[in-house]
């Protein structure tokens, strides 16, 4: 199995020279392929079963969660847990807050990163390389380390318990995204840009009308990175907000769960509410997502 997987060219065809050379009978080959799919499927179940059980539990009344094993599917479509979460649990508010903050973060981060990447890739100005190196150096600064000074700054700026505090540190562009985009922009043929300049296009117009349309893959990547980061971010919103009005899904859910104790029907429904929008995006963009991660690792 390993050998076949490695040779990678035996695409399941019957006459496979590699196999016959390795001296395997057709039967042995079938067993190996069967074993491969079996292992892969078992692993897939390990990855998926937690989500499935959660979905089940979120659709059950608490009594059923206590009385029957988690892997029994719900008998009917019981939506009272979700109703409770949205109406009494504050999740409607958390969802709206998260959407607001994440969209603002994403729009800003992508826009400002595109602008900076264009300057670094395509403009000549004094100090450019030094500034770019500064950006690269900040890649070594872990998120966890800036939390305390950033909190102090937000406090001094009287921004604690505001939406601004949640997205401000990330909205003006991200060095890593700028780096990715710069690599991409540099591979756009110079002739295209020169032609536009000859036609009298301003740099802004070149960026908006030529660079951006030609760079869709990297822009989709940047958008997904920013969106998933914003949606999942926990430590920072936890620190800068402490009123329910400003809770996002992560902070709201963590708080809700610790208050709910063993009322798992409610907290698991809360997990579903938090994860479902991501799941939808995941389903729509699945190809982009895999490619995005490929872009981020190869370039």
């Amino acid at each position: 199995m390993t050998g076949r997987a490695l040779s990678a060219r035996s695409a399941g065809t019957a006459a496979d020279p590699a196999t016959s050379r390795a001296g395997l009978s057709a039967g042995g080959r079938a067993i190996r392929i069967g074993a491969l799919y079996l292992i892969l499927t078992v692993m897939a179940l390990v990855f998926l079963v937690p989500y499935l059980l959660t979905l089940f539990a979120s659709l059950k009344p608490i009594g059923q969660i206590f009385s029957e094993p988690a892997w029994i599917p719900p008998k009917s479509l019981y939506l009272a847990n979700f109703r409770y979460d949205f109406v009494s649990g504050g999740f409607l508010r958390y969802l709206a807050n998260t959407a607001l903050v994440t969209v603002a973060l994403t729009l800003g981060q992508v826009t400002f990163s595109v602008m900076a990447a264009y300057a670094f890739a395509r403009l000549h100005f004094p100090g450019r390389d030094k500034i770019f190196w500064l950006y690269l150096l900040t890649l070594m600064v872990p998120n966890a380390v800036t939390i305390i000074p950033l909190y102090t700054m937000m406090r001094m700026g009287h921004l604690l318990n505001t939406y601004w505090a949640i997205f401000l540190p990330y909205v003006l562009g991200a060095p890593y995204t700028i780096f990715l985009m710069r690599q991409f922009f540099r591979n756009i043929p110079q002739e295209v840009i020169d032609a536009a300049r000859v036609d009298g296009c301003s740099e802004w117009r070149i960026l908006a009308r030529i660079i951006v349309p030609l760079s869709k893959p990297v822009i989709v990547t940047a958008t997904l990175i920013a969106f998933v980061f914003g949606w999942n971010n926990f430590l920072w919103p936890l620190i800068v907000t402490n009123s329910q009005n400003h809770y996002v899904l992560t902070t709201g859910l963590a708080n809700f769960q610790s208050n709910m104790n063993s009322q798992w029907n409610y907290s698991l429904a809360g997990s579903v509410i938090t994860l479902l929008p991501l799941g939808v995006i995941f389903a729509i963009f699945q190809r982009h997502i895999i490619r995005s991660i490929s872009i981020t690792q190869i370039r």
Binding site: M1, F47, A70, M140, P142, A144
Partner: protein, 325 residues
């Protein structure tokens, strides 16, 4: 996302090898413009991100060191403390314990995670039907909200109601108390993180495997090398830099673990899972002793920096790393 951020830029491979290195050639040329004019023209493009990088990354790093030298509690005015905080965090806050717990977590987490990721990548590295679907499924936990998946795992490992102990009971085993047991809590947390990151790391290995020329395997097969020999003699050595990259980014990310632990254990039982990042949070935002918390952050930063600088130096000289195809 932190792990994505910590990947180093110079790791460009074949796709981009003509322009190796970070700086390289730049194409856009504005001959005849004066420096000042060029600078003013570029200013609007870089100002937002420059303000962002300066205000939210550069200044905080400097401020962190300053705060770590202060008695700073938010309630009273800050006073100079010298290196007192650095001594106090070891004397009174058990920073050494937290560091040890963090290292324990990393050791539980990273080796297993890397091996499973590599094994999955090897299995998925074929053009067979359905491989794309498996790949997507394995990556799903990486993109899921850690707080939400931690709530799920908390329930799955609940001693009374959880699926794990229910399954064990079916085969006649009384399961342990998992997250309420000092012995089991950390392995459970590590398992949750392995579940979360293994698919992501698999993608790196998959990309690495796909970059290895098929001819090498064909030649090995002609020489009679079996699957295992091929893996250990060809794949593994050629995946060297991928493996190192996955290991180092994994370690850097694991040193900053927070979300899952906050939900699953809050550092308990006792302080058995109190990793450094959780401790920093508690000292800073529960006790409001920002000076000590900053000193601990410096400690964390130092440890992480050792790994990131090592990684940077390693990959700096490998920008045009290329297989003869």
């Amino acid at each position: 996302m932190t792990r994505v951020v910590s990947s180093l830029p110079t790791r460009s491979r074949s796709a981009n090898r003509k322009k190796s290195g970070v700086m390289g050639e730049t194409t856009g040329d504005h001959v005849g413009r004066s420096g000042l004019q060029a600078f003013l023209g570029a200013l609007p493009f870089i100002t937002p991100s420059f303000v962002g990088v300066t205000l939210f990354l550069v200044i905080p790093v400097i401020a962190l060191f300053v705060i770590s030298l202060l008695n700073y509690s938010l309630l009273t005015p800050a006073t100079a403390a010298g290196f007192e905080n650095y001594i106090n965090i070891f004397r009174y806050d058990d920073a050494a314990h937290s560091l040890g717990v963090t290292v324990y977590y990393v050791l539980l987490n990273i080796p297993l995670q890397t091996i499973v990721a590599l094994a999955l990548a090897v299995m998925l590295n074929s053009k067979r039907r359905g491989m794309g679907i498996y790949r997507i499924l394995y990556v799903a936990p990486y993109l899921s909200t850690p707080v939400a998946t931690a709530v799920i795992w908390y329930w799955v490992f609940d001693p009374k109601l959880g699926a794990v102990n229910a399954l064990l009971a079916n085969v006649g085993i009384t399961g342990p108390q998992w997250l309420s047991s000092a012995q089991w809590a950390m392995p459970v947390v590590a398992l949750v993180n392995i579940w979360q990151y293994v698919g992501y790391n698999m993608l790196f290995f998959l990309a690495g495997l796909q970059a290895i020329p098929k001819q090498l395997y064909e030649a090995a097969q002609l020489d009679g090398a079996g699957p295992f020999k091929q893996f250990f003699r060809i794949s593994l050595p050629l995946l060297n830099s991928t493996t190192l990259f996955v290991l180092v980014t994994g370690v850097i990310g694991s040193f900053q673990v927070f979300d899952t632990l906050y939900v699953l254990t809050q550092g308990g039982p006792g302080n058995s899972t109190e990793v450094l990042n959780l401790k920093i949070y508690q000292v800073a935002f529960v006790d409001f002793r920002l000076g000590e918390a900053a000193a601990m952050s410096v400690l964390l930063f130092g440890v992480i920096l050792i790994f990131s600088i090592g990684q940077f130096l390693f990959f700096k000289n490998r920008t045009t790393y290329e297989y003869s195809a």
